[in-house]
């Protein structure tokens, strides 16, 4: 292992800790906004898709296909470098949360659509038989069951949202990755910078994936909890 003999200078953490924490805070901030936004978009458009609400369903399908079939990095370029040309100037922070929200919303629409469509038809019929209207049936039957089915895949989307905030490096929004790279450009402490950066992301991502298992267990449908 001689070729990989490296030392980690711990003063890197004490000297740059504040700046890195500020970057981490922005990463979490942007992620939180995007996750909330993606949740709402996914819920509404997913329901519209699953229940084939006219017009909304078709528009949602177009939105989902465009976002899923183009790279998010190009979407960010388009928002930040392309839109100003037609007079729409967005701050880096706005582009940061907007880009991942739009992206997460598209994937979440598919997650929720699949979840809602997985709810057996007879359950909804039971709701109608009880005299529930369409909305009440959705809120009391389809949402609780379909939402739980969609939960693991939607958390996976949220994890991807967090990871994708790193792409804001290209618009120089000072989230965690940009901050780390800026520090590296000045200190040239490559080993320290990138180790810290990688470990930070793994901690966030692994915590979130562990939460899938916990949430899955707690919110499991009674019939699955055998």
């Amino acid at each position: 292992m001689d070729i990989l003999a490296v030392t980690f200078d711990w003063s890197f953490i004490t000297e740059n800790g504040d700046e890195l924490l500020a970057g981490l805070r922005r990463t979490l901030e942007v992620s939180a906004i995007a996750i909330a936004g993606a949740f709402v978009i996914g819920l509404v458009l997913g329901a519209a898709r699953a229940h084939r609400v006219p017009v909304v369903s078709q528009l949602a399908a177009v939105y989902v296909e465009i976002i899923r079939n183009t790279p998010i990095l190009v979407q960010i370029f388009f928002l930040f470098f392309g839109l100003p040309q037609i007079g729409i100037i967005l701050e880096p922070f706005t582009v940061a949360w907007l880009a991942v929200t739009i992206w997460g919303g598209a994937f979440n629409t598919e997650n929720f659509r699949a979840g809602f469509e997985a709810v057996p038809h007879r359950f909804r019929e039971a709701g109608f038989a009880l005299g529930f209207g369409r909305l009440t049936t959705f809120l009391n039957v389809t949402l609780p069951i379909g939402g739980r089915i969609a939960l693991p895949s939607s958390i996976n989307t949220y994890i991807s949202v967090v990871k994708n905030t790193s792409l804001m490096y290209v618009i120089s929004y000072p989230e965690l990755t940009t901050t780390a790279l800026n520090i590296n450009a000045l200190t040239l402490q490559t080993v320290e910078t990138f180790t810290t950066l990688a470990v930070s992301y793994l901690v966030i991502v692994w915590t979130m994936s562990a939460s899938i298992r916990v949430v899955e267990r707690r919110l499991a449908l009674p019939e699955d909890a055998r």
Partner: protein, 228 residues
């Protein structure tokens, strides 16, 4: 191409000849690398031997857990500082980063596919005198491949799209080729036209990616349905 403005033709030509070529190159290398590493790792993961499983798990969780951009930085900036021989040009660095990430995806998918093959197939193959390797190579994996095909097509779409991160380190792929042309056009004549053309150029990049990805996602969905 008379319907295009004068500035567009050279831009488009460069994007297709240099950019698209680079994108497909990165994607092809990364897909091949992901399969070469991911399929054996995924198969080995089905062996109930704790140390090997723990190691492969760690590999999968690390490369799936890190943002691919961060992996790319590790390959491009960190590796050379550990050892100067571990230094690769931008295009190869991007391919390595995508291979690490892609192989983790393939390994996980392969494990699932291999485990979905009924136990009887293993037993029958053993009865025919196959050892572990022969059993997997000639009996199990060919069957698992059928299940693996839809996720592999999705992975290809993902790899093609994610290859755009190579732009960050200046590898000649589609987005980078577009960015170079935007920069040139923004310069005053005679270099460029002194105008920012980011909107139509990045919109074109989106259209090109859409034209590649859309048929492939359809194909993946079709393969998935056929399997069900």
């Amino acid at each position: 191409m008379s319907f295009l403005p004068d500035w567009a033709e050279p831009v488009l030509r460069y994007m297709l000849e240099v950019g698209l070529r680079g994108t497909l190159q990165i994607a092809a290398i990364s897909l091949a690398g992901s399969l070469l590493i991911g399929v054996p790792l995924g198969t080995l993961l089905t062996i109930k031997f704790m140390p090997s499983r723990a190691l492969i798990r760690l590999y999968i969780e690390v490369w799936r857990g890190l943002p691919v951009l961060v992996t790319l930085f590790l390959v491009f900036f960190l590796l050379p500082s550990l050892n100067p021989r571990l230094e690769f040009d931008a295009l190869i660095s991007a391919s390595i980063a995508l291979t690490l990430w892609g192989s983790a995806q393939v390994a996980e998918a392969t494990r699932g596919a291999v485990q979905s093959i009924p136990k009887e197939q293993h037993e029958a193959a053993s009865a025919l005198g196959f050892g572990w390797i022969g059993r997997h190579v000639f009996v199990i994996l060919p069957q698992a491949l059928r299940r693996l095909l839809p996720p592999l097509v999705s992975l290809l779409v993902n790899i093609i799209q994610t290859s755009t991160i190579a732009q960050v380190i200046g590898a000649p792929e589609l987005l980078e080729s577009a960015e170079r042309q935007v920069e040139r056009l923004a310069a005053p004549p005679p270099i460029g036209i002194g105008e920012i053309k980011a909107f139509p150029i990045y919109a074109t990049v989106m259209v090109i990616f859409f034209c590649i990805s859309f048929p492939l996602t359809r194909l993946a969905a079709y393969l998935e349905r056929r399997l069900a």
